[in-house]
């Protein structure tokens, strides 16, 4: 069935009227032979019969049409999207223009979204790759920082060790000289003793700081009588307060024989640091310490009427190595840093409140679970032995060896001194001793190897390490090798005798 020409014309006219498409006919030289009436609706206003179409329509320029060809989405001269179809025949080309606005909008929505998503995906991949690179870089930096921290810690430990040995000697001989000195000499020697103690405390602070950085600080909580700790601290700091005529009081709210579980030596260290600072920076007035124990929480407040700290300096006061300028006071600037870190390790917090020219209040709390006393603690006294002890001492520092020998012999101990680990091993093969005192760092054969050989030979004589190394790793290694005690120089002779008493049967 076919439509008659009238019907075709009618349908064509109807379609033209709906402006959905237009057309024009060209000869092979691009001359317009025929054009639909509605071309103007698509912006082709000058396309009249007889004109060269390439003069009017840019998209025809240079185009080579030898077969059916279509430009599916192109802008009309009016700026609207159109679809252009070229239908060539032997001598003419029919160009059909169709409205493509709906198709344009549909594609635009889809394509815009798809392209934006792909761009976002690309950006995301790039960012993820950058994050990965940054992560690798950070990990490398972290390794480098850890190595730097390890080297710093190792350096501090080394310095501490090297300082501690001669200092032990200075302090020991100063004590000996003090025994038989006249008043003037005693004053000079006391000054030397104070300076040596100060130097030792600086070294210990440096070492502690290094330990915190390498996470080597370990707490050793044990049953502790609080009154004893505060009494010890008071005995230590009161002379300083009296020298400066500062009114010093300690008030506690517990009964005698109140036992708690905490690391007593670290608590002493914190109290001495804080109270010592308060006295140091108070030239007149008072330093008041108030301590209370409630619900397993020890709260201490130290209030002074000293020079105080400005608001600006208060922000920096806990930073390592920071010291307030122009105070005329010496120190490492580490005391408060270390104190705060210890308090945090003990489950508490440190707070400082200060007004410049008025005074400072430092308060802190630490966890202190109460406990029933499990043993009776006696005041430390020099141990007396029923018989004369024999001690083999391996120590390469002649001054220290002489000092310890002198102090032990004063207590009736017989001492044999050798200068290295090899000589100690050899001596123990031929002679029995009650106790061995062993330095760690010695020439020929060091303390570790000597202990290893002694234990390897089946010798069970108690061995006490006596070293300037205060690092936990050395202590741990000594224990692993079978040592029975570990003392850090400068060694307190009372500690040494107490250990001897526990070890020697």
């Amino acid at each position: 069935m076919s439509l008659n020409q009238d019907r075709v014309a009618e349908i064509s006219q109807s379609l033209f009227d709906r402006r959905q498409f237009a057309y024009f006919l060209l000869d092979t030289q691009w001359c317009v032979l025929e054009a639909s009436n509605n071309l103007q609706e698509f912006g082709f206003s000058n396309l009249e019969v007889g004109v060269d179409a390439t003069d009017e329509i840019d998209f025809l320029v240079g185009i080579d049409i030898s077969d059916n060809h279509e430009l599916s989405m192109i802008s009309s001269p009016a700026g609207d999207p159109i679809r252009v179809t070229f239908i060539p025949s032997v001598s003419t080309i029919t160009v059909v223009i169709m409205d493509a606005r709906q198709e344009f909008l549909r594609q635009k929505q889809l394509q815009q979204k798809a392209n934006e998503n792909e761009l976002l995906l690309g950006t995301q991949e790039k960012l993820l790759s950058e994050i990965e690179e940054a992560k690798i870089k950070l990990e490398l930096q972290n390794v480098e920082l850890q190595e730097a921290a390890r080297l710093q810690s190792s350096f501090l430990s080394g310095v501490s060790h090297e300082f501690r040995t001669p200092l032990a000697s200075i302090m020991g001989y100063t004590n000996l000289l003090l025994k038989d000195s006249d008043e003037t000499s005693a004053n000079y020697l006391s000054a030397m003793k104070r300076s040596s103690k100060h130097l030792l405390s600086l070294i210990e602070n440096l070492l502690d700081h290094g330990k915190f950085d390498s996470n080597e600080i370990m707490l050793n909580p044990k049953s502790t009588e609080l009154a004893e700790v505060f009494s010890d601290v008071e005995l230590l700091v009161r002379p300083l307060a009296e020298t400066k005529s500062v009114n010093f009081t300690i008030t506690t709210d517990w009964q005698a024989a109140c036992f708690v579980v905490l690391d007593d030596s670290r608590l002493r260290q914190c109290l001495i640091n804080i109270i010592g600072n308060a006295i140091k920076f108070t030239d007149q007035g008072r330093v008041t310490v108030v301590a209370s124990l409630k619900d397993d929480d020890l709260h201490v407040s130290v209030e002074d009427t000293g020079i105080g700290v400005s608001e600006e300096h208060l922000k920096k006061i806990k930073q390592p190595f920071w010291q307030a300028p122009d105070t005329g006071k010496s120190g490492t600037g580490l005391g408060l840093t270390i104190t705060e870190r210890i308090i945090e390790m003990m489950g508490g917090a440190l707070d400082i409140d200060s007004s410049e020219g008025v005074g400072t209040t430092v308060s802190f709390n630490v966890m202190a679970p109460s406990i029933e006393p499990t043993f009776h603690q006696e005041a430390q006294v020099l141990t007396q032995f029923n018989r004369s002890l024999s001690v083999l001492m391996a120590e390469d520092d002649e001054d220290i060896a002489f000092l310890v020998t002198l102090l032990l012999e004063e207590q009736g101990v017989k001492v044999v001194h050798v200068a290295n680990g090899a000589l100690a091993v050899d001596r123990l093969q031929h002679e029995d001793f009650d106790l061995v005192l062993m330095d760690l760092h010695m020439p020929v054969l060091n303390g570790y190897d000597a202990v290893s050989q002694i234990r390897g030979a089946g010798n069970t004589t108690p061995i006490v390490i006596m070293t300037a190394s205060a690092i936990e790793a050395d202590k741990g290694r000594a224990q692993e090798l079978g040592c029975d005690g570990y003392l850090v120089k400068p060694v307190d002779i009372a500690d040494l005798l107490n250990i001897a008493q526990q070890l020697v049967t």
Binding site: I74, K108, Q111, L119
Partner: protein, 151 residues
């Protein structure tokens, strides 16, 4: 103007023809046609929709081209790697016409193009320009170079 999507074909064209630039990304659908005079030559620029993962370049838009500007995004290496395959599509349809290359977004801090790629394009006889439609860098030189090669 041929290249992947969002490399800056429309931005380079609009900068050259109308001296305008917009940061907003608007994808081109189909082809946009503009004309401009370069000296005595009327240049009709076919700004062809970029290739994307869903659709290839519509080769019908390349028919009759007298020269090609390949555009890549200097911050997206894949768009520069894509030029070789785009060239195969193009040469298949229009023959060995003159080519210039725009490595666009040269103003962007992430711009990174290997010298090996530039040497490879140069060895093909293509003039390579580091362009910035945003700053106008090398935009005029890019088109003038192509017109010179076509003439």
């Amino acid at each position: 103007m041929v290249g992947d999507f969002a490399v800056g074909k429309t931005s380079l064209t609009q900068k050259f023809v109308n001296n305008v630039f917009s940061d907003k990304y608007l994808t081109t659908i189909g082809v946009k046609i503009d004309s401009v005079m370069v000296d005595d030559t009327k240049v009709i620029v076919w700004d062809v929709a970029g290739r994307d993962s869903l659709s290839p370049i519509n080769a019908n838009y390349l028919v009759g081209a007298a020269g090609i500007v390949f555009v890549g995004d200097g911050t997206r290496p894949s768009t520069i790697d894509a030029m070789s395959s785009l060239w195969e599509t193009t040469v298949d349809r229009v023959g060995d016409v003159p080519v210039v290359v725009a490595l666009n977004k040269h103003d962007h801090p992430d711009w990174s193009v290997s010298s090996e790629q530039i040497i490879e394009f140069s060895n093909r006889g293509w003039d390579v320009f580091n362009t910035s439609a945003k700053e106008g860098e090398n935009v005029k030189s890019l088109f003038e170079s192509l017109v010179h090669k076509m003439n």
